[in-house]
């Protein structure tokens, strides 16, 4: 059962990483325009031609 000593913290750490990634995304406004984000991915005017 010694494996738990590092497996449980690893699981927690991964979870925390996910949580902070979400909080960061929220803070940087990535959820403020959900419909727009879905459509922007299709446009390519950010590519200089």
């Amino acid at each position: 059962m010694n494996v738990l000593v590092y497996l449980v913290p690893t699981a927690l750490g991964l979870g925390l990483a996910g949580l902070f990634a979400f909080l960061w995304a929220l803070k940087s406004g990535q959820y403020s325009d959900v419909d727009g984000a879905a459509l922007r991915v299709l446009s390519d005017d950010d590519v200089e031609n």
Binding site: V8, L19, L39, S43
Partner: protein, 723 residues
């Protein structure tokens, strides 16, 4: 005289020294518009940032001061085929955005914690029936405690704060049993963990918080969305005023006008602010304010009200403080009284929680007392009582109503109804009597040609095309009949009389009977505009027509056993024909705002639930006095602010759709409350018996929440059977 456009009212200094502005953008059709709009605006020299939010149709622009002007940005949008309407974001909207972010953060933390604790809990549950060692179990319980305690302290704050506020004002709300349940469950679990016990309830407490936060977040999302849409509509409606600065005319947003400003109002425009006429003569249509369709003559010294339509001549006004006018004062006084009466209506959720909170506390207390009397130890009795608190905590109850509201408000939105108040759906469903205003509500807000088919089509088309050259409201009404929307060349407008031009080498005149040299019969309920082309002429009556589907909608409403009334500020002779066509027996004309309230109060006194549908400023107090209220989008601003919902478009059908959707939503809400009650009826006896393990609590909570949410999705079918 050229006119400059001054939009500095909307510009806000940004952190990096540029100026920023928010625009509500009209005309966005598809995803490609995002790139087109941003590209068009960014190509204006001096613009440093342009970002379109497709979800709420708003554009944020920033530019370097001195390099460009906001007016140039608007022009760039216009050139691209879009209309930008600048607005100042409302403070309430910003506060709600911050609150929404806070709720989402709490939700994220609770979700993370619930998942990880559940991971550990499932191991313990399966270990308990197999061969887990007490040391491993303790380790898992301590790990759970490590996650649960900080997570609850963070994610539970919205509930703890609200419960604390309620307790301090010596009342109970839904958050009191929630907070108590969560805190006691965590505390007890901690004690049990210290004592190497088999069960801990960390997962139940956190999962409870998670489901409750989902309910809160949904509830909030509805309010935010309606507010954003309402903000955009207000921006779309905002009009520019011509301010006289010395000899120069500056076009400024009406919101930027101050007391003492001098303003020019051209024919065909609405008066931008309350004021006193300094110069000029004209006739004003005040139907938006009083409901009266007959026009009032004004001259130097007359008081005029914001929202009146200027008909014949240009006026110069001195802006007076809003509310200084006797009419507005009277309306505001009535409004105050009516609004305080309205707060008596209680939300369904509040009513449920008022019964619910004491019952939960009492059940938990009785369970504790019962087990002590039955001879169980204090420790066991406390654990069972806490289990009762946890299991009764209203996961399903908290989701039951917000989930339906989210789905139903989406359905209403598709039916062109926008909610102002979150609980409007519940109140709409209870309506048994509808009171309509006439002008602008049953009739279209803008006048139309009475019977276009009876006129010579060729003459009518010529007249309508000529009308395109004039901004006189009657001409604007006539121009709607024009098929070719191209004005004639060389049209000359004679102020206060009409327009003339040459068509096929023959002089054509459109305007007053004298101007066209026509003997027009006196029309009582219609204004007339005359047209002469050589020897041929036409007298064209123009009036406010009924909304196209008014008769059908009124019949459908009657079929739903609703009692219909018309209350109008307009002259009784003008109301009678409308009431007759619609077959509405109860109608009154020539009413003052106080009379309308009196009528509604009488209806309420006899136990009726009244829906008031109105648009005029004179309707605002009656809207506030009624059980629930609807306004068309063309309504006066103050009126719209007091309506529970606003409907768009030229049809009356949204009124019917709103009632149908609200009734269905109400049924689903009641069903959901019953589902939650049945769940409690099954789970509570089990808990009182002391048989609830954390596994049962988890299954019961998620099961009932899921059931209630799925049931709520049924509210999404669009009203009127479309889609």
């Amino acid at each position: 005289m050229t006119e400059t456009l001054d939009l500095s009212h909307y510009a806000r200094p940004m952190a990096d020294g540029t100026l920023g502005m928010e625009l509500a953008v009209e005309g966005i059709a598809c995803g490609a518009c995002i790139g087109r709009i941003e590209h068009a605006v960014k190509s204006v020299p001096g613009v440093t940032e342009a970002r379109l939010n497709f979800t709420n149709r708003r554009l944020h622009v920033a530019w370097s001061p001195g390099l460009t002007k906001p007016a140039a940005i608007l022009r760039a949008l216009e050139d691209g085929g879009y209309h930008g309407h600048p607005f100042v974001p409302m403070r309430a909207e910003q506060q709600e955005a911050a609150e929404a972010r806070r709720l989402t953060r709490c939700l994220a933390v609770a979700g993370f914690a619930a998942m990880n604790i559940m991971l550990l809990s499932v191991s313990v549950w399966s270990g308990n029936v197999t061969d887990i060692t007490p040391e491993t179990r303790d380790f898992f319980h301590w790990a759970s405690a490590l996650i649960a305690l900080p997570a609850a302290a963070y994610a539970g704050r919205p509930f703890f704060a609200s419960a604390w506020r309620a307790l301090r004002s010596r009342s109970l709300n839904m958050d009191v049993p929630i907070s108590l349940g969560v805190i006691l469950a965590l505390g007890m679990s901690l004690v049990e963990t210290v004592n190497h016990a088999e069960h801990a309830y960390f997962d139940s407490a956190i999962m409870l918080l998670f489901f409750l936060l989902v309910g809160r977040a949904l509830d909030h999302a509805v309010r935010r969305k309606t507010r954003a849409v309402a903000g955009n509509l207000a921006a779309l409606k905002a009009e520019n005023a011509h301010r006289l600065d010395g000899g120069e005319i500056v076009s400024v947003p009406s919101a930027a006008l101050r007391t003492g400003d001098r303003v020019l109002v051209k024919p065909g425009e609405r008066v931008p602010a309350d004021g006193i006429v300094l110069g000029g003569r004209s006739e004003l249509d005040e139907s938006l304010i009083t409901g009266e369709t007959a026009r009032r003559a004004v001259m130097s010294g007359s008081a005029v009200y914001a929202g009146s339509m200027n008909y014949s001549g240009a006026l110069t006004l001195n802006v007076t403080a809003a509310g200084g006018a006797a009419l507005i004062d009277e309306i505001e006084k009535l409004l105050e009284k009516a609004a305080s009466a309205k707060s008596r209506a209680m939300r369904l959720a509040d009513r449920a929680s008022r019964i619910y909170a004491p019952v939960v506390h009492l059940t938990a207390a009785l369970t504790f007392a019962g087990w002590v009397i039955a001879g169980a130890g204090i420790h066991d009795a406390v654990i069972t009582a806490i289990a009762v608190l946890i299991i009764t905590c209203p996961c399903a109850l908290a989701l039951a109503i917000p989930a339906v509201q989210v789905v139903a408000s989406g359905a209403l939105f598709r039916a062109n109804v926008i909610l102002n108040a979150g609980d409007a759906i519940e109140r709409l469903a209870e309506v048994d009597t509808i009171v309509f205003d006439k002008t602008g509500t049953l009739t279209l807000p803008e006048p139309r040609v009475v019977d276009a088919a009876a006129l010579d089509p060729q003459l009518l088309q010529m007249a309508a095309r000529l009308a395109l050259s004039s901004r006189h409201p009657l001409a604007v009404a006539l121009s709607r009949e024009a098929i070719a929307r191209v004005p004639f060349d060389g049209a000359v407008e004679e102020p206060g009389q009409g327009v003339r031009t040459l068509i096929d080498g023959i002089e054509a005149r459109l305007g007053s009977p004298q101007f066209c040299d026509v003997m027009a019969p006196d029309a009582v309920h219609a204004s007339t505009i005359c047209f002469r082309h050589g020897g041929r002429f036409a007298v064209i009556p123009i009036t406010q027509k009924l909304r196209a589907d008014a008769i059908d909608v009124v019949n459908a409403l009657r079929a739903r056993m609703l009692d219909l009334h018309i209350l109008s500020g307009d002259h009784a002779d003008a109301v009678a024909p409308v009431a007759r066509v619609l077959g509405i027996a109860h109608w009154r004309g020539g009413l003052k705002p106080a009379d309308k309230i009196g009528y509604i109060e009488t209806l309420r006194g006899s136990g009726r639930r009244v829906l008031m549908v109105g648009d005029g400023l004179n309707d605002a107090p009656s809207l506030a006095a009624a059980h629930v209220s609807l306004s068309p989008i063309s309504a006066a601003d103050l009126t719209q602010a007091h309506a529970d919902a606003v409907f768009l478009g030229e049809k009356l059908a949204p009124v019917l759709d709103a009632i149908d959707a609200a009734r269905r939503a109400r049924t689903l809400m009641t069903q959901n409350l019953w589902l939650a009650a049945i769940y409690n009826a099954i789970a509570v006896p089990v808990a009182i018996a002391g048989a609830v393990t954390p596994l049962i609590a988890a299954a019961a909570m998620s099961g009932s929440s899921l059931l209630v949410t799925l049931n709520a999705l049924r509210a999404g079918r669009a009203p009127g059977g479309q889609k």
